[in-house]
Amino acid sequence: MAKFLFIFIIFLAGLLYFPAQTLAASVFISTSGTARVGDTFEVLINADTDGEAVNSVNLSLDYDDNLISFAGYKSENTVIELWVDSPHEEDGVLYMGGIIPGGVSGLYDPSKNGLSPIPLARLLFVAKAEGNAKLSFVKTEILKHDGRGSQLVHDEKNGEIMIKSASPEGILGKGENIFDKNSPEPFSLIFLESSLFSETPSIIIFHAQDIDSGIKEYKMKINEGEWKEAKNPQPIPKSIFSREITVRAIDFYGNFQDAGLTVPGFVSIKLLLTIFALLIIAGVFGFKVVKHMV
C-alpha cells in the first residue's frame, strides 16, 4: 500500500509540474526542411510568448557557414518595425536586435484557434553545399511590454535544413541575381540639431526599408566628397557653411536608394552676401568721403 501511495504522489507531482513546462514561452526556428544548392531560402524566427505582450528582442544565431551563407532579411510579414541592430553576420554568427513599438502578444490568424507565434524575423540564406545545415541560438533575450523591460522567461528551439544537390535550373542560374533587383524604398533624412546644453551632438536620422532582402549598409557623403560608412543616427560635426548631405541605403544585392538634405551652417550664404554687400557700400562711401576731404 505504501509503495502504491508513493507512486501516486510521484504521479501527482508529475501532473502538476509538466503542464506548466509545456505552457512556457519559446523562441524557435522554422525552415522549409529542404533546399537545393544554389537556392535562396527563408528561415523564420518565431516567438511563442504564451500570450504575454513583448516589445524588444535581441538574438544571436550560429549556423553551418560551410553549407549555407547569410543573404539578407525580409521585413514583409514580420513584426519588428525598428532594428537597433539590423540582422548582420560577424565571424559566422548572426546578430539582430529590434523593437516593436506598442508590443505584441501573438499573431491573429482567423484560420487558427487562439494566438499564433509571432513572426520576429525572416532571414534569407543561400545554400552552398550538400549536407544537414544546423541553425542554433547562441543567445536570446525577449523583453516584456510592461514599461519596465522585464525579461520573458522562455525556451529556445533550434532548427535545421537539409541541403540537397543543385537542380539543373539552379546550375544554369547560378551567380545571377534573380532574387532582388529592386531598390530600397524611398526614404527621407531628418536633421536633429543639438541644443546648447545637450550632451547628444547634432545628428542625421534615417530609416530605409527594402522589401526583398533588407538594408545591408548605409553610406554618406558631404557635398561632393567621398562615400563613407554611415549608421543611423549619424553624428554631423558643426560647420561654418551649409552642406549637402546624401545618404545611400544599400540592400544585400547591391541595389541602392539615395536621400538628400541641406544641413545649415553657422553662416548662411545670404548673410555672407549681405555682409559682403555692406562692406562694398561702406568702402564706396568711405572712398567718396576721403575723396571729398582731399
Binding site: M1, F4, F8, F11, L12, L15, P19, L23, D50, G51, E52, N55, S56, N58, E76, N77, T78, V79, E81, L82, V84, G97, I99, I100, P101, G102, G103, V104, S105, G106, L107, Y108, D109, P110, S111, N113, G114, L115, I118, P119, E141, L143, K144, H145, D146, G147, R148, G149, I190, L192, S198, E199, T200, P201, I203, I205, H207, N232, P233, P235
Partner: protein, 300 residues
C-alpha cells in the same frame, strides 16, 4: 486483502478522474487574450453585398471585397485611430457608451501589423495596441472585443508628504477600476468610472516614504494597464502644468515618442556615461531595456 484491493480501485479511479479533469482544464482554458478574431463573412464582390446597418455606417457604401474590421469599447466620444505599418489610415468616433467599429478595405493576402489607439474627449491618448493579423483575400476579417486601458493624467509631478495626488482620465462607463502606486512601497486603490466614462481619484500621500513612484490605472482584474505616470514624493508640490511630463526617453520634451527619440537612444546604445534623459531606467547604461521602455511609451 479484499479491503486493500478496494482502496487501490478507489485511488486508480481518483487518478483517472484527476487526470481527465486536468486535461479538460488545459484544453478548455481560454486563450490569454480578450480579442476574438473571426472571418465573419466571405464577400465575393462589392455588388453582391447588401448594405446593412451592421456592415456599413448607412452611408450607402458596401463592404469592400477584402476588409478588416475592428470593434470594441474605448471611452464615450473617443476617437479611435487605426494605423497600418505605422501610418494612420483610418479614424472613427466611439458612441456614448464608448463602442466603436472601424472597417478598413484591404487588397492582398498578407500579415500586417495594425496599430490602434484611442484618444479621449480631452485629447489624452491610450497606449498603442498592436494586432499582427493574417488577412485573406475575399474575406472580411473581424477583430472584436478590443478594449483600451483607461487614459490617465495626474495633477502633480511632485507631491509633498501629507498632501494629495489626484489622478483622472477616461475609461469605459461605469466600470470598476484599480489604481496602483509602486515605488519604494506599493499601494492599491479601487474606484469606478462614471456614466460619461470619466473617473477621478484623490490619494492621500501620508504613509509612503519619499522617493520616485509610478501610478497606473486598469479595469478590475484586467491585464491591460494605462500609461505609467511618474511622480515624486518629496518636500514640495509641483503641478503637472509647471513641468515637463517626464516621459522616459523624451529628450526633446515634445511629449511624443517616435523615430527621433529612438535615434537619440540608438546614438547612446553601448556608450558609457549616457545622457540622463536617454537612460530611461537610470542604470547608467543604454541597453535593450531602455529600448523596451521607449517602445512601451511609443506614440508614433
Amino acid at each position: 486483502m479484499a479491503n486493500l484491493h478496494f482502496h487501490k480501485k478507489i485511488i486508480i479511479l481518483l487518478l483517472f478522474f484527476f487526470f481527465l479533469g486536468r486535461s479538460a482544464l488545459y484544453a478548455q482554458a481560454p486563450p490569454p487574450v480578450e480579442q476574438e478574431v473571426t472571418i465573419s463573412a466571405q464577400v465575393e464582390s462589392v455588388e453582391s453585398v447588401e448594405i446593412t446597418p451592421s456592415s456599413s455606417s448607412g452611408s450607402g457604401i458596401g463592404i469592400p471585397k477584402t476588409a478588416v474590421q475592428f470593434s470594441g469599447q474605448a471611452y464615450p466620444g473617443a476617437t479611435i485611430f487605426v494605423l497600418k505599418g505605422g501610418v494612420e489610415v483610418l479614424s472613427v468616433l466611439a458612441d456614448k457608451l464608448g463602442n466603436f467599429s472601424a472597417t478598413l478595405p484591404e487588397q492582398y493576402n498578407s500579415t500586417t501589423v495594425y496599430t490602434l489607439f484611442a484618444q479621449d474627449i480631452t485629447g489624452n491618448r491610450s497606449l498603442l495596441i498592436n494586432y499582427p493579423l493574417v488577412v485573406y483575400i475575399g474575406f472580411l476579417t473581424h477583430l472584436g472585443g478590443i478594449h483600451f486601458a483607461p487614459t490617465i493624467v495626474t495633477d502633480k509631478i511632485e507631491v509633498r508628504i501629507g498632501d494629495y495626488l489626484t489622478a483622472f482620465g477616461y475609461g469605459a462607463p461605469q466600470k470598476d477600476m484599480e489604481a496602483f502606486i509602486s515605488g519604494i512601497e506599493k499601494k492599491t486603490f479601487t474606484l469606478a468610472s462614471k456614466a460619461d466614462g470619466s473617473y477621478r481619484i484623490t490619494i492621500p500621500i501620508l504613509d509612503l516614504p519619499k522617493g520616485n513612484y509610478t501610478i497606473y490605472i486598469r479595469y478590475a482584474g484586467d491585464s491591460r494597464i494605462s500609461k505609467l505616470v511618474k511622480f515624486v514624493i518629496g518636500e514640495a508640490n509641483i503641478l503637472s502644468t509647471e513641468g515637463v511630463l517626464n516621459i522616459p526617453g523624451d529628450c526633446n520634451s515634445d511629449s511624443i515618442i517616435n523615430l527621433v527619440d529612438f535615434s537619440v537612444l540608438a546614438f547612446w546604445y553601448g556608450k558609457s556615461n549616457p545622457s540622463r534623459c536617454v537612460d530611461t531606467n537610470s542604470d547608467n547604461k543604454i541597453d535593450l531595456i531602455d529600448f523596451s521602455i521607449l517602445a512601451f511609451w511609443w506614440t508614433g
